[in-house]
């Protein structure tokens, strides 16, 4: 099996695991985030790089947002007329079945809670079956390190060196 095929096996595994973890943490509404998880493989000489991409807001889902970083309720009267944040929340509630003014009201109510508690809110933990609402990438990566090593060792043999999760401060090196 070639290095690319091996890498693809790993990425498929991680992609599936990420989707499952998102669902388990209760982040499934339209499935947009899950569906946005796509992988690409780039080959440079002896190095193959596999990357999994997500919608931009995936990073917020991964890391969460502290109350002070919620763009709502700060400096009343200033800022933009149209808040993307509020628009996003309105869209969220509309997808949950509220209409017009209901969705707007719910969006503001949510914004109040976010501004008070940060995101995810305390109440939202009831949607999670894992007890977690953040760190889906971290959880999947940590949980599957051994499996990744095993796949590479099994399918490609001994001459592979892995570097995982560049987005994290510490690069995890695995020799397989």
């Amino acid at each position: 099996m070639s290095i690319v095929e091996t890498l693809e096996s790993v990425l498929k595994l991680i992609q599936d695991e990420l989707r499952a973890e998102l669902a388990a943490q209760g982040h499934r509404l339209t499935g947009a985030l899950e569906n946005s998880l796509q992988y690409k493989i780039e080959v440079k000489s002896t190095v193959a790089i596999g990357r999994i991409y997500s919608e931009d807001y995936g990073i917020f889902v991964e890391l969460g947002v502290s109350p002070e970083r919620i763009p709502f309720g700060k400096g009343k009267g200033g800022g933009k007329k149209t808040s993307y944040y509020i628009q996003g929340l309105i869209a969220f509630w509309e997808k949950r079945g509220l209409s017009g003014r209901e969705a707007i009201s719910a969006a503001f109510a949510t914004a109040h809670v976010h501004a008070r508690e940060g995101m995810p809110s305390r109440a939202s933990y009831r949607f999670s079956s894992t007890g977690q609402r953040t760190g889906f990438v971290k959880a999947v990566t940590e949980r599957n390190l051994d499996r990744i090593g095993d796949i590479i060792a099994e399918k490609y043999g001994a001459t592979i060196e892995l570097e995982i999760a560049k987005q994290f401060d510490s690069r995890i090196r695995i020799r397989a």
Binding site: L37, I49, A123, V140, R175
Partner: protein, 1311 residues
């Protein structure tokens, strides 16, 4: 899009890189050799070659690192190998640390861990040698050795043996090929061929076994050839001399064995050191020992030492630092975890600075001066390094001075060296002048694993030698194998048509096929071809049922082949003759024989291997003659062709044995199966009978109960699911949901309010701006607008206040509704829970009752069986009535006690069940209470929070309203708690009621049991009466029959006696011939004799009458019991009758004392004549006016006055104690049914004439005491039983009758 996961995979592909680099080195070496020395090209090539070699070494190092990583996964962590891997990993990690990291807590911990592991490694090596290194795998090693010795039979059986032998041959072929390839490579590198190459070959084969003391290092020829190439590549100068190359290679091999590293590492270590220090090959032995000693004494393993030497070896040589001193330096730094190339670089710098101390910068010199360091000593290369370091140690601890002298980058190494001169000296002593490599190599060679590896390698070398000698034949042999395999493959393809059969016999087939291929080359091929044709022919003929020709062909093959029988068996398998296999014992046995043949083949091969081993041992011992014999035996046994001819008998015997064994085993198996079948059948029949007897009704009942239980379980499951759904609904329906909903509405309201007020404010601002622009002067319009805005603002506030209030009310209503819903759900949950609990308990109770019923039925059955047995014993006379009654009572008592116990147990269970039920109810209520309290609290919290938020927003004081909410919540709590208390009280009451009811039920059960007992007793009484009546009737019948017999016999005897008398006297009268006197005398005598006969007969009649009367009395008495009064009357009457009979005197035999039909007048009894009653009867009238009507054949008896009086008295007694009067006595004139008196004693009045009456007085009392009655009854019973027995005995005993007859005859004769 954002990247959330990135995985970088780099393919090092080191193996390919190394191979590529090696090729480059080879090419450069070749080119280098062909280039003239001293030319520019020569220099360029030398530089390229050096660079290529360095790169190659680097790649190998990377490979080693990777290998180490992988080894760590494969070895047990606590084995020596595992410790080494762990140690290497730790040191590699520590090397990357900065000084700060090393001094950190984590760094220190890691350094300590590394030191501990190294200590452990040293301890193990010193105490046990490296044998411990294979602890984790020695068992496997031992088994593998056994596999060799037993040809694999220990671990894998025949198949494994086949595999081992096949592998062995294949390995031998491969090893030979690989060796040839390695030699070719060596030839290419060295450029030598022909005789010169033979010299290299001689050296190579000489090194396959290296002896160190008692130990051996054994390598394959290929490995040695490759080692030559490796050493030559590393140090091309050595390629010029086979001896030098062999010497260095030998030391590298020993070093490899000593260190446990691979050969590449050891070669690199030796050649690097020799190269860096420009040493001749003869120094290889010393270097080898120093490297081994260094690794043992310090923390730097040989690969690390090599890496360090690569960096500073040349410098060391330049400054006259020996290899011993250099290795000691490396170990000194390594102890502080500065190792490998880093250590080498640092040492290179430090040594260079020391050697050039006189030309160092001014600042450095000043430091030397300040600290009194003699530069001359430092730069004096003739002095030992220790002396120079001693001088340098004056800098120890002075970081500033060290930095100035050696630079910041060398601070660590210099610090260590200046501070560890003593330790360095110790290392020098430990490293120099030892034989450490030999010692370690010897230790490592003596363990089991190495012995095993040596054994394998020796065998491989042997095979290589053998193949080398036989190389011209090898190709032919291989071809033969190929063809054989082709044929075998053809067979298998053919056999695949009957897969099941193949599967069943795959071991035999595989063994046979391989065995045949090994055994008998061309012969088998020829046979197989014939066979194939014959088999095909056979199949065709099977279709046409014309087998003769094919069978003949097959037979021909069979007889033509020395192992024809085997081939025949194969042919049978091959043509898929399963039917034949199944039906033919011979075929089955043949298959079994094949297994034996295969086994035998491998035994022969094993013996051959043993013979080879033995031969080598004998050679070593100098027993050449024995060795030749052993080798001869081995060769014969390993030669495929020879086996066929020399071992044929052995194979045939093996086959025959397998054949016979299979036949015997088949028969034994068949017999066993038959036996098993019969046993199974018997057991099944028995089971069926038992089932039929016991199971029928039970089964039906059990089935119905089971179905009902299952149905109930399903219902309960459904209920449980419903409960779970409800509970989930309860959870989901929390106050938070409602709060969120109203929060949203409230926020919406706030937003609307703010928007509206902001709009008003904006208008106000606009007006105010206009006023300001007008110079602060407000127009009337402005004022109106402002007023309007104020009004609007106020209106808006009022409006939204109102809407707030409405919303608050809605929230409160929703919360209440939610509470209600929650309550309803909870109640539903509770209801279902209770229903389930109740159902479960009812089921338990039902089960308990069913169980009780079963147990009672079992008890009843036992009781009936016991009573039945008792009845039988009683009826057969084995038991007296008293014992019978006693035992019956006992059985019944036991039964009653057992039933009562059952009832009591049941009662306890029922009470327990109800207790569980009430507990369940209380628990349900408690859960309900908790749910309600939780809901109340949640609602309260939500309400208060909402209120506070509103209060904060609108600025009012919410304390009162909060207090009100709390008050209402408290009321709700109190109500919920009250409800729970009520349930609890109800539960207690239910418990109590249940206990009372259970007791009541038990009492009822007791009453029922008592009633049943009474009924049973009545039944038993009636049964006993029935038995008694039957007995009495039987007795009566027997007695009557017996007396009739006696009377008849008496009549006949009397008639016979009279007849004999008549005859006798007729004769005498004839003899008297009319003599009147004589005739008178004869008549008188006749009358006298006749009277005597009649008298005797009468006496006997009387006896019979007495006996009969007594017996009849006894029977009547028994019948009258337990009516003691009636029994007493019977007894008295019987006594009177007996007295009457005893006193009776018979005038003559008829005893008729009154005139009756055909009778004489004056008789007081007789038989009436005339007509029956139906025809008007026989009527008469006495003088006193008494009229009677009798009928023909009725008997009459006249009692005298006294007897009549006594009889009248008896009648009265009888009547007064519940009996009947002897009706008909007084005034009765008609007996339609022949009289109504229960018993009619045969009474005749005493005396022959009316005037000679004997008065019989029976004194009777109106009442008797119990004692009297018992006494009377006892006596009568005593007498009657004896008399009855005698009478029956006499009546039925033929012997008595003979006695009587004899007695009569004797009497006649006398007469």
């Amino acid at each position: 899009m954002r990247i959330v996961f990135e995985l970088v995979v780099e393919s090092k592909n080191l193996a390919a890189e190394i191979e590529k680099q090696k090729r480059q080195v080879d090419e450069l070496t070749k080119a280098f050799k062909q280039t003239k020395e001293g030319t520019a090209e020569y220099k360029v090539l030398a530089a390229q070659l050096g660079e290529a070699r360095v790169k190659l070494i680097d790649l190998r190092k990377q490979q080693i690192d990777l290998n180490r990583e992988f080894k760590s996964l494969a070895v047990p962590i606590d084995s020596l190998q595992g410790l080494r891997v762990e140690y290497a990993k730790l040191t590699a990690q520590i090397q990357l640390f900065t000084k700060a990291q090393r001094e950190s807590a984590e760094g220190k911990l890691l350094i300590k861990q590394a030191a501990d592991i190294k200590k452990e490694i040293n301890g193990i090596e010193e105490s046990l040698g490296r044998f411990t290194g294979s602890v984790g795998n020695y068992q496997k090693g031992i088994i593998s050795i056994f596999d060799i010795v037993t040809a694999g039979l220990v671990t894998g059986g025949i198949e494994r043996a086949i595999s081992l032998i096949a592998d062995g041959i294949a390995n031998g072929v491969k090893a030979f090929a690989a060796y040839e390839k390695a030699l070719d490579r060596l030839s290419a590198i060295t450029g030598v061929t022909g005789a010169d190459l033979d010299k290299f070959k001689e050296k190579i084969e000489g090194l396959t076994t290296i002896r160190i003391g008692d130990a051996e290092i054994v390598n394959t020829a290929e490995e040695i050839a490759n080692a030559f190439t490796l050493v030559g590549s590393a140090q091309p100068d050595l390629l010029k001399s086979a001896d030098a190359l062999a010497l260095v290679t030998e030391k590298a091999l020993i070093l490899s064995q000593a260190s446990g590293d691979d050969l590449n590492s050891s070669v690199a270590a030796l050649t690097t050191t020799l190269g860096q220090f420009q040493l001749p090959a003869s120094d290889a032995e010393r270097i080898m020992n120093e490297l081994a000693a260094g690794a043992k004494a310090g923390a730097s393993e040989i690969p690390d030492t090599t890496a360090a030497l690569q960096k500073f070896g040349t410098t060391a040589a330049t400054v006259n630092v020996s290899t011993t001193e250099s290795i000691a330096l490396i170990e000194t730094l390594a102890e502080q975890q500065l190792k490998g190339a880093d250590a080498g670089t640092a040492l290179r710098n430090v040594l260079a600075k020391i050697a050039s101390a006189d030309v160092l910068p001014k600042a450095a010199k000043e430091e030397f001066k300040r600290l009194g360091v003699d530069i001359g000593v430092l730069t004096d290369k003739t002095l030992p390094l220790e002396t120079r370091l001693q001088e340098l140690s004056k800098l120890a601890g002075d970081t500033s001075a060290i930095v100035k002298v050696f630079g910041l980058e060398n601070l660590n190494a210099a610090n260590i060296l200046t501070g560890s001169v003593t330790r360095y000296g110790e290392f020098v002593k430990a490293i120099g002048g030892t034989n450490e490599a030999y010692t370690q190599a010897e230790i490592n060679s003596k363990n089991l694993t190495t012995s095993y590896e040596n054994l394998k390698t020796k065998g491989l070398n042997l095979v290589v030698s053998g193949f080398e000698e036989l190389s011209p034949l090898l190709a032919g042999v291989l071809n033969l194998f190929s063809e054989g395999i082709g044929i075998v493959g053809g067979f298998f393809a053919f056999l695949a048509q009957t897969p099941k059969f193949i599967k069943e016999n795959k071991v035999e087939l595989a063994g046979l096929a391989l065995g045949l291929a090994l055994l008998n080359g061309n012969l088998i091929l020829a046979s197989a071809n014939s066979l194939r044709l014959a088999a095909a022919e056979r199949i065709r003929n099977l279709v046409t049922i014309a087998t003769t020709g094919a069978q003949a062909a097959l037979n021909a093959v069979m007889t033509a082949n020395p192992i024809g029988l085997v081939i025949t068996a194969v042919s049978l398998l091959a043509i898929g003759f399963k039917k034949l296999y199944d039906s033919s014992e011979t075929v089955r046995a043949s298959i079994s024989g094949l297994g034996n043949v295969a086994t035998e083949i491998f035994t022969i091969v094993k013996e051959a291997v043993t013979a080879f081993t033995k031969g080598f041992d004998q050679l070593l011992e100098g027993d050449f003659s024995g060795a030749i014999d052993s080798f001869g035996e081995a060769i014969v046994k390993t030669n495929p062709i020879s086996i066929a001819f020399t071992q044929g008998k052995r194979l045939r015997d093996a086959f025959n044995k397998g054949f016979d064994d299979k036949v015997a085993a088949d028969r034994a198996q068949k017999e066993k199966e038959e036996r098993d079948k019969e046993e199974v059948k018997a057991v099944e029949e028995k089971a069926k009978k038992i089932d039929d007897l016991e199971g029928g009704s039970n089964k039906r009942r059990d089935k119905a109960a089971e179905a009902a239980a299952e149905k109930r379980l399903r219902e309960i499951d459904a209920q449980v699911n419903r409960i779970n759904e409800l509970r989930k609904a309860v959870r989901d329906l929390d106050a938070q949901g409602i709060t969120n909903k109203f929060d949203k509405q409230e926020i919406e309201l706030q937003n609307e309010r703010l928007a509206a007020l902001e709009a008003a404010d904006e208008k106000r601002v606009e007006v105010e701006r206009r006023i300001a622009e007008a110079g602060g002067k407000a127009t009337e319009r402005d004022a109106e607008e402002l007023a309007l805005i104020d009004e609007q603002t106020a209106s808006l506030k009022a409006l939204y206040d109102k809407r707030y209030k409405e919303l608050a009310q809605q929230r409160e209503r929703a919360a209440l509704a939610q509470l209600e819903e929650l309550r309803a759900l909870s109640l539903e949950t509770q209801r279902i829970s209770e229903e389930n609990a109740l159902a479960a308990i009812e089921a338990t109770q039902r089960l308990s009752v069913e169980n009780l019923k079963d147990q009672r039925a079992a008890l009843e059955k036992t009781r009936k069986e016991r009573l039945q047995a008792l009845d039988e014993q009683f009826a057969s006379g084995e038991l007296s009535e008293r014992t019978y009654r006693k035992l019956t009572l006992k059985i019944n008592e036991e039964y009653s006690a057992a039933v009562l116990k059952l009832e009591l147990d049941s009662k306890d269970k029922r009470i327990e069940a109800v207790r569980q039920l009430t507990d369940a109810k209380v628990q349900g209520a408690r859960v309900q209470l908790q749910a309600e309290l939780f809901a109340i609290e949640s609602a309260l919290r939500a309400d208060i929070e909402a209120l506070r938020e509103r209060a904060a927003l609108e600025g009012f004081d919410a304390s009162d309203r909060i207090a009100e909410l709390q008050k209402r919540a408290a009321e709700r709590r109190a109500k919920a708690e009250g409800d729970f208390s009520k349930v609890e009280a109800e539960a207690i009451k239910a418990n109590k009621d249940a206990a009372v009811q259970a007791e009541k039920d038990v009492d009822e059960a007791k009453d029922e049991g008592h009633k049943n007992t009474l009924i049973r007793l009545e039944e038993e009484k009636a049964k006993r009466q029935e038995l008694k009546d039957a007995a009495v009737q039987a007795l009566n019948d027997i007695a009557s029959a017996a007396f009739d017999i006696q009377r008849n016999r008496l009549d006949q005897e009397q008639a016979a006696q009279v007849q004999a008398l008549d005859k006798e006297f007729d004769e005498r009268r004839k003899k008297a011939k009319g003599n009147a006197k004589q005739l008178e005398k004869i008549d008188a005598e006749y009358e006298k004799r006749k009277a005597e006969i009649e008298k005797e007969t009468a006496r006997q009649r009387k006896n019979i009458a007495i006996k009969e009367a007594i017996i009849q009395g006894a029977i009547a008495f028994v019948k009258a019991l337990p009516n003691y009064v009636l029994a007493a009357v019977v007894a008295i009457a019987t006594a009177a009758q007996v007295a009457v009979i005893s006193s009776q005197q018979f005038a003559k035999g008829g005893a008729l004392m009154f005139a009756g039909r055909g009778g004489a007048k004056g008789q007081k009894s007789g038989v009436f004549g005339g007509r029956p009653h139906s025809a008007g009867g026989t009527k008469g009238r006495f003088d006193d006016g008494t009229e009677i009507e009798v009928e023909e054949n009725e008997i009459f008896v006249i009692l005298n006055k006294r007897a009549s009086k006594a009889l009248r008295a008896l009648s009265e007694i009888n009547y007064s104690f519940g009996g009947v009067s002897f009706s008909g006595l007084p005034g009765a004139t008609s007996f339609g049914s022949g009289g109504s008196i229960d018993f009619t004693p045969q009474i005749a009045l005493p005396g022959a004439s009316q005037n000679n009456q004997t008065a019989i007085l029976v004194e009777a009392q109106a009442t008797f005491s119990d004692e009297q009655i018992t006494e009377i009854a006892g006596r009568i019973a005593g007498q009657t039983s004896e008399a009855t027995k005698n009478a029956i005995g006499e009546g039925l005993d033929d012997r008595d009758r003979r006695l009587e007859r004899n007695s009569s005859l004797a009497t006649n004769r006398e007469g």
